[in-house]
């Protein structure tokens, strides 16, 4: 039998075998969608799409679901209004992606154009290293260094008093979450942008300079525009990582399902929040009760769907830009 495996295969058989193996990835995705959707279905069945809206305190809704230990809860037990969690996810990821994009573009320009050669050779492997640091290490620095700093040194007693009847400002909140999340996703975006920027032919840049542009504007006007597909792809990747980041947000976000309100002034950045992913991880041990299980799987479905939408959107955005593309 082993002999038959060792004899040279025919192309047909090889094609079929390899094709079957290649389909494993597609099967995995299909299974994932099916399983998560099936477990999330009870929430959709009983709440429709209104669970995405707001109304009431999500913490207490989830709490009463977890408290309910019966095997077949009534339909009212599934009541959920998860908007604060969605808002928290959008706030942190949105700000992190915006800041990350700005910083990564500027850093890429710096590394490729402005930095002295010594610094340039040193920075590239360093940025790659930063991109591969596990997120929990950033979370550790956040919670052991940034949160006490913000809580004790930045937030004044007066600010704490002003919200004392509603929430407690401990330093863990929007500011630290966005800071750590930006720190997490910027190196990845920077590394990808630098790689793309370095692959733009030098002659394009020199042509622009020859036409009278200063070198910096030449880079922006020519090279950055040329690598727009790569920037879009890097941003989509970073956004997907940001919305799905559970552990770090769990550590530094304050763990209260509160919607930070921009009209609160400066306190806005200190207010605690909670994101979809950090709620999933928090409730990881509670997945036994049916009501909370379908709610958590509904969150996971939402995250999965957002990830897919980001992939699709980045593809759609890149398609018209493809005529300017240099390499895939």
């Amino acid at each position: 039998m082993l002999d038959r495996l060792r004899r040279p295969w025919s192309d047909d058989r090889a094609e079929r075998t390899l094709g079957a193996i290649a389909c494993l990835a597609a099967i995995a995705i299909a299974l994932m969608v099916v399983f998560v959707a099936q477990r999330a279905w009870p929430t959709f069945q009983r709440e429709g799409l209104s669970w995405l809206g707001s109304g009431g305190n999500v913490d207490s809704q989830l709490g009463s679901m977890a408290f309910n230990t019966s095997a077949h809860p009534a339909a009212s037990a599934y009541h959920l209004r998860a908007w604060p969690l969605i808002y928290g996810t959008l706030l942190t990821s949105g700000f992190a992606v915006i800041f990350g994009l700005a910083i990564s573009l500027l850093t890429a320009i710096f590394v490729v154009d402005l930095a002295p050669p010594v610094l340039r050779r040193a920075m590239t492997p360093v940025i790659r290293l930063l991109a591969s640091v596990p997120s929990v290490i950033y979370g550790l620095i956040g919670i052991l260094v940034l949160v006490p700093f913000v809580g004790n040194d930045l937030i004044t007693s007066g600010q704490k008093e002003s919200v004392v009847n509603v929430i407690q400002l401990t330093g863990a909140g929007l500011l630290v979450s966005v800071a750590i999340l930006t720190l997490m996703i910027t190196p990845i975006m920077t590394a990808l942008t630098i790689e793309a920027l370095a692959s733009v032919p030098r002659s394009w840049h020199e042509g622009a300079v020859a036409l009278g542009l200063n070198p910096l504007r030449a880079t922006i006007a020519v090279s950055l525009r040329a690598i727009r597909p790569a920037i879009v792809a890097a941003t989509a990747l970073a956004a997907a990582r940001a919305i799905g980041e559970a552990i770090v947000i769990d550590m530094v976000s304050g763990g209260k399902a509160f919607t930070p309100k921009p009209w609160d002034g400066l306190i806005f950045i200190y207010e605690p929040l909670r994101s979809l992913a950090s709620t999933i991880i928090d409730q990881g041990e509670n997945l036994t009760e049916p009501a909370i299980r379908s709610s958590i799987y509904a969150f996971a479905l939402l995250l999965m769907f957002s990830g897919f939408m980001l992939s699709v959107a980045s593809r759609l955005i890149r398609r018209p830009l493809r005529k300017y593309e240099l390499s895939s």
Binding site: M1, L2, D3, N57, D59, S60, G63, S64, A66, F67, N68, T69, S70, A71, P148, S157, K160, E161, V164, N165, V166, I167, Q168, T170, G254, G255, K256, D282, E285, N286, T288, E289
Partner: protein
């Protein structure tokens, strides 16, 4: 003939791989989940039992909170559920709660704010949110807003606290909810303006201040003497009466002297075996 010999080696390996697990499956694993307050106790008890049974019984204990343990046991996801509260309305039917030890709940503050005693009304006002500033609390050295820490709704210790020390009121929604005893202990240890409540194992540890209640200190002696009110039992929960290895383990906890010694280290043994409570 070389071919038959080529088959023998793989066949032997496969046979071994199949036979050995079949033999090894004879050992039992008891899985448990539930209360974070009784987790340290169950860890110690199960380690001792594992040793006494020469490794034939092993344990897999996870946490999650008393309600999680109860619903896991009811659904058959674990062999035994750990609970830090008696059964209440809404719990699944057909469960049996076996009491194994007594524990108590203390109000705790940060050591930098060593409040020695609080009255019932003070505790109620602080935890329900009527009083939000340390300056309004006599005996407190901290200033500024009070950071109140509570537990998530699955916690049995929360039920005990609300029923006994809060006389039935509920903790306000502004409080930060911690998912476990350990995390609550961490939070109050780090926060000079913090206040919370913990079961005795966690409250009487170093680095945290246990607050007296109505003049009675929060200690084992006062609980045994009957003067401290914040008391409840730890229960082991099974679906239907416990059988087999589960029953042996629970009976061992309730009756053996070795188990009693372990319970005495940080908790309060029950004396004689208390009757089990069944949910209807």
């Amino acid at each position: 003939m070389r071919r038959p010999r080529r088959y023998i080696a793989p066949l032997v390996v496969i046979a071994a791989l199949v036979a050995v697990p079949a033999i090894a499956y004879a050992a039992t694993t008891i899985s448990m989940s539930g209360a974070t307050a009784s987790f340290p106790l169950l860890e110690l008890l199960s380690a001792k039992y594992h040793q006494l049974k020469h490794g034939q019984v092993s344990f897999r204990i996870s946490q999650g909170g008393a309600s999680v343990g109860i619903s896991d046991a009811a659904a058959g996801r674990v062999s035994i559920g750990n609970s830090s509260r008696p059964p209440q309305a809404g719990d699944p039917s057909g469960l049996v709660f076996y009491p194994i030890a007594k524990y108590f709940v203390c109000v705790v503050t940060n050591p930098a704010n060593p409040v020695s005693n609080l009255t019932t009304s003070q505790v109620q006002q602080i935890f329900t949110g009527k009083v939000r500033n340390w300056s309004q609390v006599s005996g407190a050295t901290a200033t500024g807003p009070i950071d109140v820490y509570s537990r998530t709704s699955v916690a049995g210790v929360l039920t005990t606290f609300q029923n006994t020390l809060l006389s039935g009121s509920k903790v306000g929604s502004f409080a930060t909810q911690e998912p476990s005893e350990g995390l609550m202990q961490n939070s109050v240890k780090k926060d000079p303006a913090g206040i919370g409540f913990l079961s005795d194992y966690f409250a009487l540890a170093k680095g945290i201040n246990a607050v007296g209640y109505n003049g009675t200190g929060c200690s084992v002696a006062n609980v045994v003497g009957g003067s401290y009110p914040g008391v409840s039992d730890f229960y082991e929960v099974t679906r239907g009466p416990a059988t087999g290895q589960n029953e042996a383990f629970i009976y061992w906890i309730q009756s053996s002297a070795v188990a009693k010694k372990i319970i005495e280290s940080n908790w309060i043994p029950l004396g004689k075996i208390q009757p089990a409570i069944k949910t209807p």
